[in-house]
Every structure is written in structure tokens, then in C-alpha cells.
């Protein structure tokens, strides 16, 4: 697999404030990488360093094997980008802005453009000043999805979109992925990343704290177990790797390190199990674990 984006120890200061401390991750061809973290964690800053809009002051990054700052001109025509805050010229219509972007990007697919306008239910004849946030976002997305690219970078793409339009966006992302393109998708909405992403990189205060496939990450964390048994299960609470043990009537609930699952299983078989449920961690749990402290 060829690395499309490769970031190694990226840093960025704004004056004295260090927005990026240590950003390392890779995006390979055919991969959707979710880039998640709360507001202010440094997602947009990372993306803007990667796009050569601002210059990182430590570490290094390449896209298509080229330096993101020095060789940005060679990189940009192969990248489609939608910024987090799509701001448009109020006096131009949505249609005009989309056309302008497509042309300046180097040309695109006219039928694709029209099809996307229809799918996203955008009125292209309206002046941009009358668009809502969601509609501005649509203009940015339609423009970016209409041009040919090998790498797509979306910064919080669905903020302001209603759920129906979010679905349209997800379909589009799946198509791009199927075509073997690479996608970097930043978000603080976990469910959307969970649905689309093969890999996630979790960023916190300018640092990547976790990367990997969703499965790998789940493995690192705890599952939730709900259990009803004939005998009293409270001894389980003392096992290594078991946490948050609560008992409510006959049912007990606890979380368990995935690495300790086997020990727990062996212990419960002796209790006369009536009900046993294991819920794998959601990304939400994963996320919370990194942020709770």
C-alpha cells in the first residue's frame, strides 16, 4: 500500500501557543481515515499544515511523497479539500461559485456537478448570502466532489447538514473509497467517522494519542458486560481487568479489559449463567477514555 499522506512529528506554534505538538499518522490509498478530537484539538491546523496553507515548524509531512510546503503546487491539483468553515462570496450564486472552483481546480465533470446539485437539493441560482450554513457546506462539498482527485480532505464536512444530506455525503464517500482514493475526514462527531472510517487517528491538545484500525483500537479498550446468574457474581469484581462493577437486582454490569476477557469467561461459567451480553466498545467509549482524565 502506497502512503498518500505521511506525517511525522508535526509541530506548529502560533506565537507562544503551541497548537500542534506531535502529529504523526499515515493515510494510504483506498483508506478512509477518521481524524477525531474535540474542538480546538488541532484538527484544522493539522489539515492546513498538510495543505501548505500554513507552515509547520517541526517534523515533516509529505503527500504523494512530496513535501507539503515546498511542493504544494504539484500536490494541490490532485487534492480536493473542503474547509471546516465554507465562506462564500455573498453576491455570487452557489452555481457560479461551484463552477469557479471547478475551473480553478483544473476542470471537472459537468454531469457529476449537476447530479450532485440535484442529490444535495441545492438551489444553485440563489445568491450565496441567502444560504444557510448547511447550504454553504453543500456548495463546498459539491465543488470538491466534482473534481478528479486522488486525495480528499474534509474538515468537519457534515456540520450544518441535516441527516438526510449526511446520508448523501456518506454515499459519496463510499463511492470514492470504492474507487481506491484516499480520504481524510476530520470530525468531532464520532458516529459519522465510525460508519465511514477504516482507521482513526485521535488527536488531543495537538498530539495524536491513538491511531489504528477500529478493531485494533477496540482491542485496546474495554467491553461492557451484562450478566444475570444463578449464583452471586460479586466475586467477579475482584478479578484483574474488571472495572465499574455495579449490581442492580439480579443483573450486574461491569466493564472489562479486552485482554482480560478470557479470565472473566472462565470465572462466569461456574456461576450458572442465565444471560450474558458483551457489548464491544463504541468509538464514543474509546474517545471518552482518552478524554476523561
Amino acid at each position: 500500500m502506497a502512503a498518500i499522506i505521511e506525517a511525522q512529528g508535526l509541530q506548529k506554534h502560533f506565537g507562544k501557543f503551541q497548537a500542534l505538538r506531535d502529529i504523526s499518522f499515515t493515510v494510504n490509498a483506498g483508506e478512509v481515515v477518521g481524524f477525531i478530537g474535540p474542538n480546538g484539538a488541532g484538527k484544522s491546523t493539522t489539515i492546513r499544515v498538510l495543505l501548505g496553507i500554513i507552515r509547520g515548524d517541526g517534523g515533516q509531512a509529505t503527500i504523494f511523497g512530496r513535501n507539503v510546503w515546498q511542493e504544494r503546487l504539484a500536490i494541490h491539483p490532485r487534492v480536493a479539500y473542503v474547509p471546516g468553515d465554507v465562506a462564500l462570496w455573498g453576491n455570487l450564486t452557489g452555481g457560479e461559485i461551484i463552477d469557479l472552483f471547478i475551473k480553478l481546480h483544473g476542470g471537472g465533470d459537468k454531469t457529476k456537478r449537476d447530479e450532485l446539485i440535484k442529490k444535495f437539493e441545492l438551489d444553485p441560482r440563489k445568491k450565496a448570502k441567502s444560504y444557510s450554513k448547511g447550504n454553504r457546506q453543500k456548495v463546498g462539498l459539491i465543488a470538491a466532489l466534482s473534481v478528479p482527485a486522488d486525495l480528499y480532505i474534509f474538515d468537519e464536512p457534515t456540520s450544518g447538514l441535516d441527516p438526510l444530506m449526511e446520508m448523501v455525503f456518506q454515499e459519496e464517500v463510499e463511492q470514492i473509497k470504492a474507487a481506491g482514493k484516499a480520504i481524510l475526514l476530520s470530525s468531532h462527531i464520532l458516529s459519522e467517522v465510525e460508519r465511514l472510517a477504516d482507521k482513526v487517528a485521535i488527536i488531543r491538545q495537538g498530539k495524536i494519542v491513538e491511531t489504528g484500525t477500529l478493531d485494533e483500537l477496540r482491542h485496546l479498550t474495554r467491553s461492557t458486560v451484562r450478566l444475570v446468574a444463578e449464583q452471586d457474581p460479586h466475586d467477579l469484581a475482584t478479578l484483574r481487568g474488571v472495572y465499574d462493577f455495579t449490581q442492580k437486582g439480579a443483573q450486574v454490569t461491569f466493564s472489562v479489559d479486552n485482554s482480560a476477557l478470557n479470565t472473566v469467561l472462565r470465572a462466569v461459567t461456574t456461576l450458572g449463567v442465565k444471560k450474558f451480553e458483551v457489548v464491544p466498545p463504541t468509538l464514543e467509549d474509546l474517545f471518552m477514555r482518552h478524554y476523561e482524565d
Binding site: L51, G52, I53, I54, R55, L73, H76, P77, V79, A80, Y81, V82, P83, D85, V86, A87, L88, W89, L92, T93, G95, E96, I97, D99, L100, F101, K103, L104, H105, G106, P124, R125, K126, K127, G140, A143, A144, I153
Partner: protein, 534 residues
């Protein structure tokens, strides 16, 4: 009053309470502006000022700007006559525009924000709001009329009588009422509040231009122009009250029509449908130059118009220069001694003003790129095949082209008008004017370079180019008078350049400043390549 207007007095009281600060500023500001220049006019009138002004104000160029006077010979031109001619139309326009914007603001704009529906969900009548607003505006304009008249007579100038002052104030008030009535009408017709104010202001502008033509060619036609009704009252001279009556009648008709139209339409929509924009872009927009031209179009056009008008205004003075010289022996000697004509001397001074004004536009265009950057309009465009170099140089080129055009239009309109005003006796040609203008071109290039340097390295300092321009303009002007040290005046780039047509063109200086300007542009580019964009 029927239920359509239910509770309108409540709304009126609300408005008066809410707007009182605005009303005070409006009435005092406009009223004093219209009336308090009487002492200044008294100064002008001293000595042989009045007959001189009379000649100046008989100039068609001046008439087209301020309007005519009924006075037939210079001896009858009083302070009052002069005041009426020079101030009434101008102040009336202000009164009209302020009133129009106020009415649109309280009617369609509130509809667009959805406030109207909120108010109407109480027991307020559907049309109570419009009635309240129009009554409020009439009340404000009556105050304005009385204040203006009162202040004017308080200066105790013989030719400014009470009836004349009341008529002057009344005409001002009428202007406001007419503006309000027009705005109320357009508020019903146009699809948005922006459209309503645009249409009103556009119509007022059109009427102004039309009356400029009819005033010069045949004043009778101006009687058919609502703007004409302001100054055709001729306060302090003919004191004709008839135009006020016409104006009030027409305002009444406009308001009634507006109410009928409003009664038949839905909240938030006008009679004209909202014009849909283009679904696809014209090819003219689809390039970086096309985009930048579009973004700066309004600014460029308005600057060009302003420069042409200014050139014409200054140019129209040339006709009176010889007669001025005839009446002033000292000046005549002075010009004879220096072997320059008064026209050439005046040109060399005024051209600096025009070139400096023309230099503002390129600075504005260069700074616009950073404005676009801070508004995040360009974020998505950064990641296309468009390079930073392309953005920078397209922007700079547009600024320079606009600068060339500005200098050409300002100097050209000055020259053309001047030559027309002087007539066949002129020793100057249009080329002399253009040469004088373009001999100042390095100034434009230099300040554009300063702005570009800021854009590249410290974009938040973009205003510095304006500051420098203002500073050097002032220094250039007062330097000679105040006898400042040479090194100090030389910090103003204008002082390096000889002033044509009085002085000789200096090639090396021209070239030096030009090169300096180009160096600044290149340095700016280096910074723009390197810095973080927003």
C-alpha cells in the same frame, strides 16, 4: 380608522421612544448642516465676493451640480440667493436619502427579519406599521424644516427673511417626505429590502442626473422633476410656494398607492418576483483575473466615476481664471514674472491632488486580497492549481491597471473640461494634462508597492499605505508653506517629482521611484510565498 390600522398610534409611540436618539441626531445634524453655513457665506460675500460667485455659479458645470438661480444680473445676487442655490438641492438629497433608508428599515427590513409577523400576531392591524412609520417620518421632517428655518433667520442676514427661511426649511422637509413616500412604494414592489432601498436611491440618482441636464438646457423641464420642486421654490429670491404643494400632493398619491399595494400583498414578498441568479457561471468569471475583477468591480467603477466628476469640477474652474486674473493686479504681476500661466500653475497643483486620490484605489485593491483572506473566501481556492504567485500578481496587476485608468480619467476629464471652459485661447493641450498626471505615476506605484509589501509580510498593516499617502500628501502641501527642513519634506515621495506642466519632466527621478516601487512589489511577493495564510 379601520382595523387594518388598529393600534397604529401604539406603534408610533413605540417608534418615537425607540428612535429618539436617531431622531435627535438626524434633525440636529441635517438641520444644522443645512442652516449653519450662513456665517461662512457671509464671509464669502465680503468685498466683491458676490458678483464673483455669481459668475462662477452661472457656469453650466456648476449649475449641473448644484442647480440654477433665477437671478438675472450679478448686482441682485444676495447671500440668500447664493445660499439657496448652493445648499438647498444638496441638503435636500441628504434629507431624502436618510428618510428613504429609515422607511425601508422600519418596513421591509423588519419583514425580512420576521419581526413584522411577530408584531402582527398581537392585535396590531396589518398596515398599522407602515402608517406609524410614515407619520413618524413626516413628523421628523417637520421638525427638520422648523429647526432649519429657525437657525437660518437667527443669523440676522438681511436677505435671509423669515418667509424665505420657512420656504427653504419646507423644501428640505418636502425632500424627506418625498423620499419616505417613494421608499414606502418601493418597499411594496421590490422583492427584498435591499431591492427597495436600491430602487429608491437609484431613482433619486436618476432624477438628479436628469435635472442636471434640464437645468442647463431648459429649466422649464425641471418643473416636471420631483427633485426640481426643491430648488424651484427659489427661497430668498422668487419665494415660490407652488412646488411645495405639488410635492406634497404627489407624496400623498404615492403613499396612498403604497397602502393599496400593501393591502393586497403577503408579508415578506413584493410584487416583483425575486430574480433568480445564474445557475452556472459566465466564462468571464472563471479565472483568477475574472474573479478579482468581479470582486473589485463596484469599488473600481465608483472610484472612476468619482475621479471623472472631480476632474470635471476642477476643470470647470479654468474658464473663470482669466477674469479672476484681470481683477487682481498683484496676481497678474506674479504670473507674468514667473513666465507661467495661471492655468499651468493651477494644473500642476491640482494634478497632485488628483493623482493622490487616484492612488487610493490601487491600495484598496491590494488590501482587498487580505480582506478576502480574513473572510475565509479563498480557503478552498488555495488547494487548486492556482498558485500563491498567481493570486498575488493578478491582484497587483489589477491594482496597477486601475491606477493607470484612474490617473488617465482624472487628468483626462480635468483636461477636457478645462479646455472646453477656456475655449479657443488655450495654450495647453490635452496631452499637457495627461503628461502632468502620468508624471505623478511613480507615486501610485510606490504606495501600491507599500500596500503589497504589507500584504506579503504583515498584512494587518495594510492600512499603512493609506497613512503614508495621507502623510506625504499633507507634507507635500504644507512643506512649502511651513519651511520644513529638506530631509523632512523628502520623506514624502511626491516632493521628489517635479510638478508638470510648470516644471520640467525629470527622467532619472521618475525611473528611480518606479524601480523602488517595483522592488517593493517583488519583496511583497516573497513574503506572500512564505507566510501563513489565514
Amino acid at each position: 380608522m379601520n382595523e387594518k390600522f388598529a393600534l397604529w398610534t401604539v406603534l408610533l409611540r413605540q417608534y418615537l421612544k425607540r428612535d429618539w436618539r436617531k431622531i435627535v441626531i438626524w434633525v440636529l445634524g441635517l438641520g444644522l448642516f443645512a442652516s449653519a453655513y450662513v456665517p461662512a457665506f457671509k464671509e464669502i460675500a465680503k468685498g466683491s465676493g458676490l458678483p464673483t460667485m455669481y459668475t462662477t455659479m452661472k457656469n453650466p458645470a456648476m449649475i449641473s451640480i448644484v442647480g440654477p438661480t433665477p437671478i438675472k444680473n450679478a448686482a441682485d445676487y444676495t447671500i440668500g440667493a447664493m445660499y439657496g442655490q448652493e445648499m438647498l438641492l444638496f441638503c435636500g438629497l441628504f434629507a431624502m436619502i436618510v428618510a428613504a433608508l429609515h422607511v425601508v428599515g422600519h418596513t421591509r427590513k423588519e419583514e425580512d427579519f420576521g419581526l413584522t409577523e411577530l408584531v402582527q400576531s398581537f392585535r396590531v392591524g396589518r398596515q398599522a406599521n407602515s402608517l406609524a412609520v410614515i407619520v413618524e417620518t413626516i413628523f421628523i421632517n417637520l421638525l427638520l424644516a422648523l429647526l432649519t428655518a429657525g437657525v437660518m433667520v437667527s443669523f440676522r442676514v438681511a436677505s435671509i427673511s423669515l418667509p424665505g427661511a420657512l420656504l427653504f426649511g419646507g423644501a428640505l422637509g418636502l425632500a424627506g417626505i418625498l423620499g419616505a413616500a417613494l421608499a414606502l412604494l418601493f418597499a411594496q414592489i421590490m422583492p427584498t429590502s435591499g431591492g427597495a432601498s436600491g430602487a429608491t436611491l437609484g431613482l433619486v440618482g436618476l432624477l438628479y442626473v436628469v435635472r442636471a441636464g434640464t437645468d442647463v438646457s431648459n429649466v422649464t423641464w425641471s418643473w416636471f422633476n420631483p427633485l426640481g420642486w426643491l430648488y424651484l421654490t427659489f427661497p430668498f429670491t422668487d419665494n415660490n410656494w407652488a412646488p411645495l404643494v405639488y410635492g406634497l400632493l404627489v407624496s400623498l398619491v404615492l403613499v396612498v398607492v403604497a397602502f393599496v399595494l400593501e393591502g393586497r400583498r403577503d408579508v415578506g414578498v413584493g410584487y416583483l418576483p425575486e430574480r433568480a441568479g445564474r445557475a452556472t457561471a459566465k466564462s468571464g468569471l472563471l479565472s483568477v483575473p475574472g474573479l478579482f475583477l468581479r470582486l473589485n468591480r463596484g469599488t473600481i467603477i465608483s472610484w472612476m466615476v468619482a475621479l471623472v466628476l472631480l476632474g470635471m469640477a476642477y476643470g470647470s474652474i479654468y474658464g473663470d481664471m482669466q477674469s479672476f486674473l484681470e481683477s487682481n493686479a498683484l496676481m497678474k504681476q506674479m504670473f507674468a514674472a514667473t513666465h507661467t500661466s495661471i492655468e499651468a500653475s493651477f494644473t500642476s497643483t491640482i494634478i497632485v491632488v488628483l493623482v493622490d486620490l487616484a492612488a487610493i484605489l490601487p491600495i484598496a485593491i491590494v488590501n482587498k486580497l487580505f480582506t478576502e483572506e480574513t473572510r475565509l473566501h479563498l480557503s478552498q481556492l488555495y488547494v487548486t492549481k492556482v498558485s500563491r504567485r498567481k493570486l498575488y500578481w493578478t491582484n497587483v496587476s489589477l491594482a496597477l491597471v486601475a491606477g493607470v485608468l484612474g490617473v488617465a480619467l482624472a487628468a483626462g476629464s480635468l483636461g477636457a473640461t478645462a479646455l472646453a471652459a477656456i475655449g479657443a485661447t488655450s495654450k495647453m493641450t490635452l496631452f499637457d494634462f495627461l503628461a502632468a498626471g502620468f508624471s505623478g505615476w511613480p507615486v501610485v506605484l510606490f504606495v501600491t508597492g507599500l500596500a503589497a509589501l504589507a500584504l506579503g509580510w504583515a498584512p494587518r498593516l495594510g492600512k499603512i499605505a493609506y497613512l503614508y499617502l495621507g502623510y506625504s500628501f499633507a507634507l507635500n502641501y504644507f512643506g512649502g508653506i511651513l519651511n520644513l527642513p529638506d530631509w523632512f519634506t523628502k520623506t514624502a515621495v511626491q516632493t521628489w517629482l517635479p510638478r508638470l506642466p510648470v516644471a520640467q519632466f525629470n527622467g532619472p527621478t521618475f525611473a528611480t521611484i518606479t524601480v523602488l516601487g517595483i522592488v517593493l512589489l517583488v519583496l511583497g511577493d516573497l513574503g506572500y510565498q512564505r507566510r501563513d495564510l489565514i
